[in-house]
Symmetry: C2
Subunit: 247 residues, 2 copies
Amino acid sequence: MSDEPYRLYYWPGLQGRGELVRLALEAASTPYVDVARLPESEGGGVAALMKLMRGGGPGLEPFAPPFLQSGELVIAQTANILQYLAPRHGLVPDDEASRLRANQLQLTIADLIAEAHDVHHPIASSLYYEDQKPEALRRSQYFVTERIPKYLGHLERVLERNGGRHFVGSALSYVDLSAFQILAGLDHSFPKAMQRIAASIPLLAAMRDRVAGVPSVAAYLASERRVPFNQKGIFRSYPELDVEPTP
Amino acid sequence: MSDEPYRLYYWPGLQGRGELVRLALEAASTPYVDVARLPESEGGGVAALMKLMRGGGPGLEPFAPPFLQSGELVIAQTANILQYLAPRHGLVPDDEASRLRANQLQLTIADLIAEAHDVHHPIASSLYYEDQKPEALRRSQYFVTERIPKYLGHLERVLERNGGRHFVGSALSYVDLSAFQILAGLDHSFPKAMQRIAASIPLLAAMRDRVAGVPSVAAYLASERRVPFNQKGIFRSYPELDVEPTP
């Protein structure tokens, strides 16, 4: 490991997938540079991000942000970054079974995030939401009535079978942090849908509140480093997509 | 590790994501039981798969197939399963940088697979293709003109920068096997689109042929264990989705 702080590269101005990495770094109180949020005059901005995306850094070029520079390594794909960081900062237990469990749950959370994004972008990421709104309205019905309950029901059961407080082992892990983020995001984007299933996910709700209360996480959430939810990220507020189920 | 052969659980009758695991097991000439393809009278069938999905096995219940039972472990999420298997069977180098590289590329391949699936299912997995065909036709335009070239262009550059023959290190890895599968699948589903970009991905095309010629892989592909591409899997043949780009 290098003595230099980690360098995180992610689109400035939105939470997105980068937020899962930020939460892990912040929970661990680890110094890092959020490169693209620095001015270009300090070597930051989207220009710095694009340079590495185009193969201008050491090692493998990333397909997409977020990516993390740690010494000579440039690591992309959110679950891959977290799997690298977590053992170095006490955010996952040491044994193989726990590592596999954490990665499995993280990849399931990644699948949910991709689906949540595609609710407002069912046709193409390169189009505006407004240019795919009829398809988004149709997709939202299935997301709200089928997918949210299926994913959160699964996560609630997993939590219950592990004692109810943590997804992996008996302490805070990166999976808990990512679960906090999707719960916060779904509450922001689909408040009515989340209200309808609130009674069936008590352990997730309690875990979300506990994570928000971890001192390092609470300090981060109250800081300017936490980008608010907005209409550029994955979890947006389009009330028309928070549909009532058809009877 | 247990002396029992691995038990792979995946939907019978289609390749799907399970095929990436099968290719790794077959390339390594490792004994395994493809559980759901056994008759129920021998403890197989979808019933055996559903039992573990509902939490009837040791450890963490999977969210979805494929999952692999190895002794007391039940491991889900394709990239997670491959990351578990590969070091045990010589399908990834030992060093951390290579493992991170392999997992990163595998997760990018997983993203492409999810997008390829959603071309024919842009609204909901629970609906038939025929019930979301207008949306599929629209999504296919972007997949064919933007996403296939973007993903395969990235993979071609990665291959070139690693010497042109392998994605990771200097020998066959599980990433090569998965790349073979997506190239075969895209050729099956989008032959016209693949013909249009053939000249720009010579290294991928050559790698695909080399993987198909690995003796253990060739024997598998010629066997009855290889389920043919069909209209239940991820890579289907809907010629109407293999659209010509609009000028």
